[in-house]
């Protein structure tokens, strides 16, 4: 049966998240950006309410919520400020993998560490993807392990992370999932950079390995098992990221509606000009359409549907995110470009978000290849 009605629990969580976003997150957004991190007090409050463990396994004390609920809550939280949400310490993207292997012995000490209510930060270095060299190479070092070397592309939360989840493809073409723990002696450098565009509180950094030896007992999974786990985790991550983007879009639509209803020019509220109202309508239509696509992808994944249009949904939401955040600035005119108003930050955060989470074109092509049942050939 078709219905767009959230459950009561979902509604309660969403209302809570929305209030939180408005009362606590939005007012601190600029400061967090300037300081390059989310205020510890704000982090604590978010943890207290449970927002930091929505995706984590129940056996770990997490809420292990279905995606359909999470996407609603994350959207509401992100409407406060995407930059803050992306800077929240904790399991981050890795949570979507933990969900599938909660009893893995390698993760036991991390699980233990999180029992006090604060989850240490994990950065997910996804180097196993795509055709573009990721900067980090993994080579087999005899039977006992591997060597990681090189500098990665910027990774969210890397500046704050004490743990790394790494996906890589070795020289034989075998997919690997690795778990690195500073406390267990693994070493890497999170390289500080000159970040200016956006998501400045999210701890973006390149990860550098200097011939770091990884023993084979740090391998969470390999081969087909790793590929399968990775695919399952990735589509969850894609949908969760998309839901955060809807949050920013929603904020922009609300903010611009209010601004244009009050701002006067040529003797009337600028909302009365079709150029303005039609653009706002366009923003709203796009946001709603994308919101539904995200809900759909979430429901499909929760329902264990085989193939889900997750990557393409994220790609489409990226495109909509840019349109909406850009229109947000445009409709405020000169005021949209200065830091007194939030929309310029939202536009910058939006663009940084699309850079971090997959190229729009590639995300669409991934799904297209599934539909056509064929990869775009790589001539050797």
């Amino acid at each position: 049966m078709v219905s767009f009605q959230p459950t009561e629990d979902e509604q309660a969580f969403v209302d809570l998240a929305r209030d939180f976003a408005k009362e606590r997150i939005r007012p601190l957004a600029r400061e967090c950006e300037q300081e390059g991190r989310v205020h510890p007090e704000l982090v604590k409050k978010i943890e207290e309410v449970g927002f930091a463990s929505l995706e984590l396994p129940e056996s770990w004390g997490g809420l292990e919520m279905p995606l359909i609920s999470q996407v609603q809550i994350l959207e509401a939280l992100s409407s406060g400020d995407l930059g803050v949400v992306q800077g929240l310490p904790g399991a981050g993207d890795a949570a979507s993998l933990f969900r599938f292997i909660p009893d893995h012995p390698l993760l036991a000490s991390y699980k233990e560490a999180g029992q006090k209510g604060t989850w240490p930060t994990v950065a997910f270095l996804h180097a196993a993807e795509g055709e573009i060299p990721q900067g980090v190479t993994i080579t087999s070092a005899d039977e006992t392990g591997y060597v990681l070397n090189g500098t990665s592309q910027p990774v969210r939360l890397a500046a704050f992370a004490d743990y790394l989840l790494v996906s890589a493809v070795d020289s034989q073409g075998e997919t690997l999932l690795l778990w690195l723990d500073r406390q267990k002696g693994n070493r890497w450098q999170a390289e500080a950079g000159d970040y200016r565009l956006g998501l400045l509180a999210s701890g973006c950094a390149r990860i550098r390995f200097d011939e770091e030896k990884i023993s084979s007992d740090q391998v969470l999974a390999k081969g087909d098992e790793a590929k399968d786990l990775l695919a399952k985790a990735l589509r969850r991550i894609q949908v969760l990221e998309a839901s955060k983007e809807i949050g920013l879009m929603d904020a922009a639509v609300s903010y611009v509606t209010e601004y244009t209803a009050q701002r006067k020019a040529f003797g009337q509220e600028i909302a009365k000009f079709q150029g303005v109202s039609f653009t706002l309508a366009g923003m709203a239509i796009e946001t709603q359409a994308m919101r539904h696509l995200v809900l759909r992808a979430a429901a499909d994944i929760d329902g264990d549907k085989g193939e889900v249009a997750a990557s393409s949904t994220l790609g489409r939401v990226h495109r909509a995110l840019r349109f909406v955040s850009d229109s947000g600035v445009q409709l405020l005119g000169g005021h949209g470009y200065v830091q007194e108003f939030p929309v310029e930050k939202w536009m910058r955060d939006a663009e940084a978000q699309t850079l971090l989470y997959g190229r729009e074109g590639e995300l669409l092509i991934q799904r297209g290849e599934q539909l056509l049942d064929r990869k775009v050939p790589i001539e050797v």
């Binding site: 040529f266 445009q330 830091q339």
Partner: protein
Amino acid sequence: MISFQLSDHQQQVKEIVHWFAENEMRPISMEADRLGKVPDEWLERINQLGIQLSTSSFGGDKQKSGSGEKKKTERQGNRLAVIASEELGWGDPAIALTLPGPGLGGPPVQSSGTPEQKERFLSIFSRDEPPRWGAYALTEPDAGSDVSGIRTTAKKVEGGYVLNGQKIFITNGGRASWVVVFATIDRSLGRAGHRAFVVEKGTPGFSCTRLAHKMGIRASETAELLFEDCFVPDENLLGGEEYYQAKASGPSGFRVAMKTFDNTRPIVASMAIGIARAAYEYTLDLVRREYPKQGSFYHRASELLADAELDIEAARLLTWEAAWKADIGQPNAKEAAMCKAYAGKIALDVCAKCLELLGPIGLEQHIVEKLYRDAKIFDIFEGTNQIQHLVTARQLYEPHGVRV
């Protein structure tokens, strides 16, 4: 004959300005963005070279033909200006806006000033003296697109006028030696009440209250100006009383502001094109050198780059057309609006396409993210994209007797 070939002189101008952009502007570009300021020493040195931002830099073509041929002079000041501006935008738009000179204050003084005023205000920009700036103050907190809504008042008193009001988003407003300020002598007169005054730095009651922090063009000074019982002498009313009396039944100070847009919009459009071209060239080069030559990324890259190439070319041709019309003395309001609308939009689009191709590395250490932040304002200032559409639409409907 239709031609898109640059003449030798035009090519020369392009090369010289490009040299300046590449060798003088680019080296300090990222640092200036970081600082939010163009270093003073750089400005002093550049000023000594005689390089200024002045829309009147480009005289007619004075090519001397061989003996026996008649000397033909075709005005090409506007075309030269857009060719040069594209290179300046390519170099760094914030630094371009900070080059010494009368800036946007130049055209109103040039077109509406008395000979005495032109001499007094335009002669202070010399390479033998410290760098100086002019500025243009129209926008107010409650009057952006709606110029007729300005509230800065100019009350007639003995010997001059007293100004009260506030201006925002004024490029070089804080450092300018003088600012062309638009005020109204009587709000009830509407546009007919608008006047343009030249307010000199240091005039009591005239102050720069703050500088704005922006998404991009961070090295450019964007000032807020305050006028509190600021006395401006009669000699500083641009064009003098005679100008407004003579035009009592015709155009007014409002016209002073609007007319200059037909000349400045193509220039601003060109800078936006320069930004897009900078992002495109940088990305094309990087992708060629470092990215795989097959597979889905390669196909996506080919599509986006081909699209970007045409975005830039189309914007440039619209801009050249607007400039050409101005040069040959034909009205160009529609073309000026069209090129600004198009260029303002594609500048951001091209940067976004380039950033998609760069991927995560585009977040830092590459100029493209700065260009993206710089580009956005070009769809807003000098008339928003929406205003350009309105102007274009009005031009289209006017022959049909419909005013939109």
